[in-house]
């Protein structure tokens, strides 16, 4: 029976689902850029849960934290893509399975 309001758990379930999709994408995708995008998806899912909890507990700090998460995501994306370019230059491939020299 679907309630007429939106319970907090719905937001959290959505957030969890986005996160899970991010993880699955990380695990099964082979293109390194797609893996990066899955990471972004994970971060977005986490952001949603932050905002939902902020609304639930009436704490604005949750939204401020989302702000910081976004900053970090931006920085990470920039540097990560730069690394991808560098790796592409040497390895000529975007297939993450072929970047496997750090092994025992």
């Amino acid at each position: 029976m679907v309630p007429s309001y939106v319970p907090l758990s719905y937001y959290l379930l959505l957030s969890g689902f986005l996160f899970a999709c991010g993880v699955v994408g990380f695990l099964i995708k082979r293109n390194i850029i797609t893996i990066f995008m899955s990471i972004e998806l994970m971060l977005n899912g986490v952001n949603l849960s932050f905002v939902a909890f902020a609304a639930h507990w009436q704490a604005l700090a949750g939204q401020v934290f989302v702000f910081f998460v976004m900053v970090v995501a931006a920085a990470e994306a920039a540097v990560g893509l730069a690394i991808i370019i560098a790796v592409y230059r040497t390895r000529e491939t975007l297939n993450v399975d072929q970047v496997n020299l750090l092994k025992l």
Binding site: V2, P3, S4, Y5, V6, P7, L8, S9, Y10, Y11, L13, L14, G16, F17, L18, F19, C21, G22, V24, G25, L27, I28, K29, R30, I33, T34, F36, M37, E40, L41, N44, L48, V51, A52, A54, A55, H56, L60, Q63, V66, F67, F68, M70, V71, V72, A73, A74, A75, A78, V79, L81, A82, I84, I85, A86, Y88, R89, N95, D97, Q98
Partner: protein, 172 residues
């Protein structure tokens, strides 16, 4: 069936669909576009929760800058369709069930603990004014640190992505 719920479900559907599409598509650019759709829908969710500033920043920064960056790189590297190699069975055999287990556990916890509390529409208005108050008073230090972080990221990106110098030592 309140309007709140309908809007939530609509945006939620777009999120879910975009996320699934991201997994399903083979060409990275398609995945990128799906991700943009997800972000846009998320911005709508934020608005439903009253976080207007965050929603705006989401669209401007995330969808507007970061994803553009992604698109540029895809174009730059001329990423084609994904090959179908199987490099790691562990990832699929161990990782996916593990992740699924974790998710199910989290979901169970969420549902048990906070199943029925409602979040009314626009529950916490996140005016820029209020956020700025917090940002420049309580969270000033992290704010400044993030600026340093961005500076470092810029430098790092520039260095990492620059063309390597010629082997004979001639500066380029």
């Amino acid at each position: 069936m309140s309007f709140h719920l309908i809007l939530f479900l609509a945006f939620g559907a777009v999120c879910v669909g975009g996320a699934v599409n991201l997994l399903v598509q083979r060409h990275p650019i398609n995945s990128a576009l799906s991700l943009i759709a997800v972000m846009a829908a998320l911005a709508g969710e934020y608005l439903l929760l009253g976080a207007e500033f965050v929603a705006a920043v989401q669209v401007i920064v995330y969808a507007g800058a970061i994803m553009v960056l992604f698109a540029f790189v895809i174009m730059l590297l001329n990423a084609g369709e994904e090959e179908n190699t199987s490099g790691s069975r562990i990832a699929v055999l161990v990782g996916v069930p593990g992740m699924l287990t974790g998710s199910v556990l989290m979901a169970w916890v969420v549902l048990r603990h906070s199943g029925t509390e409602s979040v009314p529409i626009g529950a916490l208005p996140g005016h820029p004014n209020d956020i700025a108050q917090l940002l420049f008073h309580d969270f000033l230090l992290p704010f400044e640190v993030t600026s340093v972080l961005i500076l470092i990221a810029i430098m790092g990106a520039v260095v990492l992505a620059s063309k390597p110098e010629a082997a004979t030592g001639k500066a380029d």
